[in-house]
């Protein structure tokens, strides 16, 4: 029993790491630009499919580095061409636009790569279990948790130690003042969007090794990512990280006792948080 709970909790932690990675990207974009990027899951899927195409040429490790970067470039273009004209208009419009993009991405990947799940090769030594008692501890899973940890640490280092990161954080608080101080807000928003999409692309490469590669891989992850943001606290990136891990583990543990409620439980958690603490676990008071 203990082992079963541990197994499902660890599974939940991995799923939670995906939610967190996705939700962090969503949160970055939402905080600075006020855009809910419904197409985030689509970008995730594209990251995965790019990796699938690149692996025969540059191997898994090369794809792990290149595919997220290519996805981020696509993100920069999408922001520049489609989303930038919508800043300053009712947030409804950017919502609808990314909503439409999500449709196009999902259908487009289905059109190009087919609807069925594609095989995705990860290096063999990563797949073998590390211990016979804790059979679920494969190298790939540990590697995923590690990669997510590195990516998140990198993100927080960028945000706290670099000029770009400081500008992003400042812009989140007061974009107008940042603009008055001579920062090019358009470029800032563009780069910030690219950074968020990079995280989605990275999650995509990792996810397909775990969840399989199919066009709907992104759309199944996006709703829990919303919940992660709400539970963790609007406007707080550490909160988003915490929220993602928390709902992942909670959903994993629920699988042990009441499997059919494993999806619904995270929404119950969201309702509880909104009831007791509307700003979310780590959200700042009075911001929204």
């Amino acid at each position: 029993m203990t082992q079963l709970i541990l197994f499902d909790a660890f599974n939940g932690l991995i799923v939670g790491a995906f939610y967190a990675l996705m939700a962090l990207g969503l949160s970055l974009i939402l905080n600075l630009s006020g855009v809910i990027n419904f197409a985030h899951g689509g970008f995730l899927a594209i990251g995965g499919y790019l990796a699938y195409m690149l692996i025969p040429y540059i191997g898994f490790w090369g794809a792990l580095i290149v595919a997220p970067l290519l996805t981020a470039v696509l993100g920069l273009i999408v922001e520049r061409v489609l989303i930038r004209p919508l800043y300053g208009r009712d947030p409804l419009y950017s919502l609808l636009l990314t909503f439409g993009l999500a449709f196009i991405f999902e259908d487009g990947t289905r059109f190009i790569w087919g609807a069925q799940s594609l095989p995705f090769q990860v290096p063999g030594w990563l797949v073998t279990p590390l211990s016979s008692q804790y059979f679920f501890l494969t190298g790939y899973r540990l590697f995923m948790v590690l990669t997510v940890a590195i990516a998140v640490t990198g993100l927080f280092l960028i945000l706290t130690r670099t000029r770009l990161g400081m500008r992003i954080r400042a812009g989140t608080l007061d974009l107008e003042t940042v603009s008055v101080l001579g920062v090019n807000v358009r470029i800032l928003r563009n780069l910030n969007f690219g950074l968020g999409i990079y995280l989605a692309g990275l999650a995509g490469v990792l996810a397909v090794g775990q969840l399989g590669l199919q066009p709907t891989v992104g759309s199944s992850l996006i709703m829990p990512s919303f919940v992660a943001i709400i539970v963790g606290g609007l406007g707080s990136l550490p909160g988003t990280l915490l929220g993602g891990l928390l709902i992942g583990v909670a959903s994993g543990i629920t699988t042990v006792f009441f499997p059919s409620a494993s999806e619904a439980v995270i929404y119950v958690m969201m309702a509880a948080v909104l009831l007791v603490r509307p700003r979310g676990l780590l959200g700042e008071e009075g911001r929204f």
Binding site: L30, G34, V35, I36, L82, P85, L86, R89, D90, P91, L92, Y93, S94, L95, L96, L97, F99, G100, L101, A102, F103, I104, E106, D107, G108, F111, M223, F226, V227, I229, I230, L234, S260, A261, E263, A264, Y267, V268, M270, A271, L274, L275, P278, F288
Partner: protein, 318 residues
């Protein structure tokens, strides 16, 4: 806005005449009567959403949940409890309205994109319940094994199952009732208060208006009429499946409202007509209709943000 506006009255008369005469002209232009019923049902949903979106200025992206609750409500009533269409409609509408009323207090304090995000996330709870609770809801296959029942009026019985025209007029009658109630509410002091909140929430608050409570009431009214539309949608198809509550359905309602024009009462109905016909056409022409619908979203946002009626009105003004 106030007083007698002959242009507006003329527009109202034209809309109603066209709707009443649908069985006469729709087949002549290549449509079929179920398509007309679908336009009116989804038009009602879009109109109800617009009560909140266009007139209260609150961005809800989760109306599919209440649409779906209404649909499941009527289906389950007829399948499990009492085989009566009328009772089913009342029950389905009630289920959706009560759910909205209960969730309301959790969300009315949020604004803007956050309101949208929380409403859409809450909608997913009902989706997963419908999806997972196989024994009652039929799960992914949907709730089958029931059909819409004849209407009994005491003096007469109307077979709405085999006579599509009769069902169309049932839909239209309920649509008219709902539209009249919403139009009346929007003209009342309550409706004017909603407009004030939309235009300047802070000023409305300073004037002593309990803003959150007004948004809550507007949310419940809007969701209530959306669940009514949901019951009719289930009756139209004699079938419900979890996709009726999936979040993409909410996006459909919003695009209908925007496409027709959020700032006008009839706009969402026009948006629904365009959208339903387009979807009907695309899904019969190409397997990749989803991409075209997505592209359509993008084009509407970039080039027609004011919607059909918004453009017409601007042309008339210039």
């Amino acid at each position: 806005m106030s007083g007698f506006d002959p242009k507006k009255q003329a527009a109202n008369i034209v809309v109603w005449l066209l709707l009443i005469a649908v069985p006469l002209w729709l087949p002549a232009v290549g449509g079929y009567i179920e398509l007309g019923s679908r336009v009116v049902v989804l038009g009602l949903a879009a109109l109800a959403l617009n009560f909140l979106l266009g007139y209260t200025g609150v961005l809800s992206f989760g109306h599919a949940a209440y649409f779906g609750l209404g649909a499941y409500g009527v289906g389950m009533m007829i399948r499990y409890l009492v085989p009566s269409t009328g009772l089913g409609i009342v029950f389905g509408t009630l289920v959706g309205t009560v759910a909205a009323a209960l969730i309301g207090p959790l969300i009315v304090r949020l604004r803007g994109v956050y309101f949208a995000m929380v409403t859409i996330a809450f909608g997913q709870v009902f989706y997963f319940i419908a999806f997972r609770w196989n024994s009652v809801t039929g799960g992914d296959d949907g709730l089958t094994g029931w059909t819409r029942q004849p209407l009994h009026f005491g003096f007469a019985t109307v077979d709405i199952l085999h006579k599509p025209n009769a069902f169309y007029y049932l839909v239209l009658a309920l649509f008219a009732l709902a539209a009249a109630v919403m139009a009346y509410l929007l003209r009342s002091p309550f409706g004017r208060t909603l407009l004030a909140i939309r235009e300047n929430e802070r000023r409305a608050r300073f004037l002593g208006i309990p803003v959150d409570r007004h948004i809550w009431i507007s949310w419940v009214i809007s969701c209530g009429f959306v669940s009514l539309a949901g019951t009719l949608y289930a009756l139209l198809n004699n079938f419900v499946d979890p996709r009726a509550l999936y979040w993409t359905q909410s996006g459909d309602f919003v695009i209908m409202a925007v496409l027709g024009g959020m700032r006008s009462f009839w706009g969402p109905l026009i948006g629904a007509a365009i959208y339903v016909v387009l979807q009907d056409y695309l899904s019969s022409e190409t397997a990749n209709w989803q991409s075209f619908i997505g592209l359509f979203f993008v084009l509407v946002v970039l080039f027609f943000p004011r919607g059909v009626l918004g453009i017409l009105r601007r042309k008339a003004a210039s």
